[in-house]
Symmetry: C2
Subunit: 345 residues, 2 copies
């Protein structure tokens, strides 16, 4: 199942996505004989299975102190908010409605109770906004803060799910909002960069208080969009996930990529690179016919930008081109948790 | 909501259960206005909510390297098995049927791929045995191995759930199997104790390959038992959870507590203490009328022992008595993750 060469590799050599592929293969092989109403297993934004009358969705994500955030630059409240937000974003990327959350905390024994109640305050503020109930979880001792959140939700039907594998050649590629502000926030906080107050607040909030695009995901479903993903790893990397799963290529026009204004204002020539490869924007990236994208754009309350198109490509590549269609070299391929060159908060 | 005195405390001072109480209070206060089909939130073995035709269950637990296990004495395969088993046990304690699992791994980058596939092998072996499907999860970088497993399941109806709050004075207290072997395994592995091969294998398997009592939980439901918990913190501590939730007391006859044979054979006078307070047995502790306990005993394929009774007690105490009814002092109150005096593997 797993070749001998891979067996002897380290996680950092194989990378996060490589490891997940191997584990998915192993699980699929072991469990292929089981019958169940499973619709989507490992490899999309959430798992999905057929319930009695609706489709059930579930997703999990972990934030680890000093890997995904540091308490030097983020408050407990912000960490709480974000730990729930990244999971709600996965539900948004399926076009679903989040309903319940389980919270599992790993904590050092000398953590202040007040800090943990602050963490919960941040989580509850977001939960309230999206009518999500925190229904349980657990607390264990750990050498550093680890927040693991599982979110359950539902979708109308299996045909309404926004998946990664349904992009078709000819589709337009579009995004729900401006990009790059979270990655710019990482740099600002990590390097102690100073900007004008409006920029500081915008970058900090983009990184630490992202707003999951729940309503927008459902709007995509209403307009018969079928392919979407949330931008957590970076525009190029997440579009790459869609291309691999859909067995297509994509061409992105660099000039059309919406770079968040505070990033343009503060990062000059590097702004586009942050928007393309920075990650953690938690906007939705989707593909659909030009006609459907235009209908979504008119109905949405957030900016919707068509930035390229899905093409036939045996190698399932994401190509970045200029306005004349000539290739442009992207500055990075997004975020891989085990192959990181820069700090991430 | 949370008093000033508590705010300034450390997690290790307040303890795991104290912290969970505070967080439950905070969540309840914040979300009391939300309407939902929630049946059980924070404070039982699993959360439960009304689905379209059955009750949905969800639970989460984390194992942290060097807190809950060490790879010096446990194999990756065993750690994988156990990380799923502790969650299936929570479903068993509700009388439910486990269905799906999400696995979230935190890993150092220099972990060998083979070790992680071994971990999955252990998890899949148990999943197959109980027809549970692993449907997704995620992988993040972390300074040490953290395995977070969320399990979803279902129960027939809300009236069939085995909860902590339904013990009634006059009920017998009973357990599904012999106790103390997992705690003895902790001591054996931690201190490098040497025993005869049969004892070594039995203690190691009790600790690292526990078998969740799924069928037994469902058998309790069939026999109209209403109150149960799984023994993870220790017999006394878990019975204390039932007493607090049900607002009753309990009296346990020390001589009736079933101490596992390998523990009797290897730990002499300390064997009873391990059975009472050791924890991690993952047997079911339940209360019901003498008549129902007897029916369960006849129908079960595992040993069922009546060990005491539920009594009226304003202070909701667990009392340990000898065969004459005189108080015996228990050697400990079970396992609290933040107030641990001995190592746990």
């Amino acid at each position: 199942m797993v070749s001998d060469i891979i067996r002897t590799m380290k996680v950092s050599e194989l990378g996060e996505f490589g490891l997940i592929d191997r584990l998915a293969e192993m699980v699929g092989h072991s469990q292929s004989r089981q019958k169940s109403p499973l619709i989507i297993g490992i490899g999309d934004d959430t798992a999905a299975w057929q319930g009695d009358s609706s489709v059930q969705l579930a997703t999990v994500d972990s934030l680890v102190e000093s890997v995904h955030f540091t308490l030097d630059t983020a408050s407990y409240e912000e960490v709480g908010w974000k730990s729930l937000a990244v999971n709600l974003s996965d539900i948004a990327a399926m076009g679903g409605q989040p309903e319940y959350a389980l919270v599992s905390l790993g904590l050092p024994g000398d953590t202040n109770i007040e800090d943990i109640t602050d963490l919960y305050r941040g989580m509850l503020a977001l939960a309230e906004q999206f009518q999500v109930r925190i229904i349980g979880g657990n607390v264990v001792s750990a050498p550093q803060l680890v927040i693991n959140v599982t979110v359950f939700g539902s979708a109308i039907s299996r045909d309404s799910l926004l998946t990664r594998s349904t992009a078709r050649p000819g589709d337009r590629v579009a995004v729900t909002g401006p990009l790059g502000a979270a990655a710019a926030g990482v740099e600002m906080l990590g390097k102690g960069l100073e900007f004008e107050p409006e920029v500081v607040v915008a970058l900090r909030n983009a990184l630490l208080r992202p707003l999951p695009r729940i309503a927008e995901g459902q709007l995509l479903v209403e307009h018969d969009v079928r392919a979407a993903i949330d931008i957590s790893d970076g525009l190029i990397a997440d579009l790459d996930h869609i291309c691999q799963a859909s067995r297509v290529g994509a061409r992105i026009e660099a000039d059309r990529v919406p770079v968040a204004l505070p990033v343009q204002a503060s990062f000059g020539e590097r702004a586009l690179g942050l928007a393309l490869a920075g990650g953690e924007d938690y906007e939705l990236l989707f593909t659909a016919s030009a006609d459907r994208v235009e209908k979504v754009r008119k109905a949405a309350t957030c900016p919707i930008c068509a930035i390229g198109e899905v093409v036939i490509d045996d190698k399932h590549r994401v190509m970045l081109v200029d306005s004349q269609g000539s290739p442009v070299s992207p500055s990075g391929k997004g975020w891989d948790h085990f192959r990181v060159e820069r700090g991430r908060r």
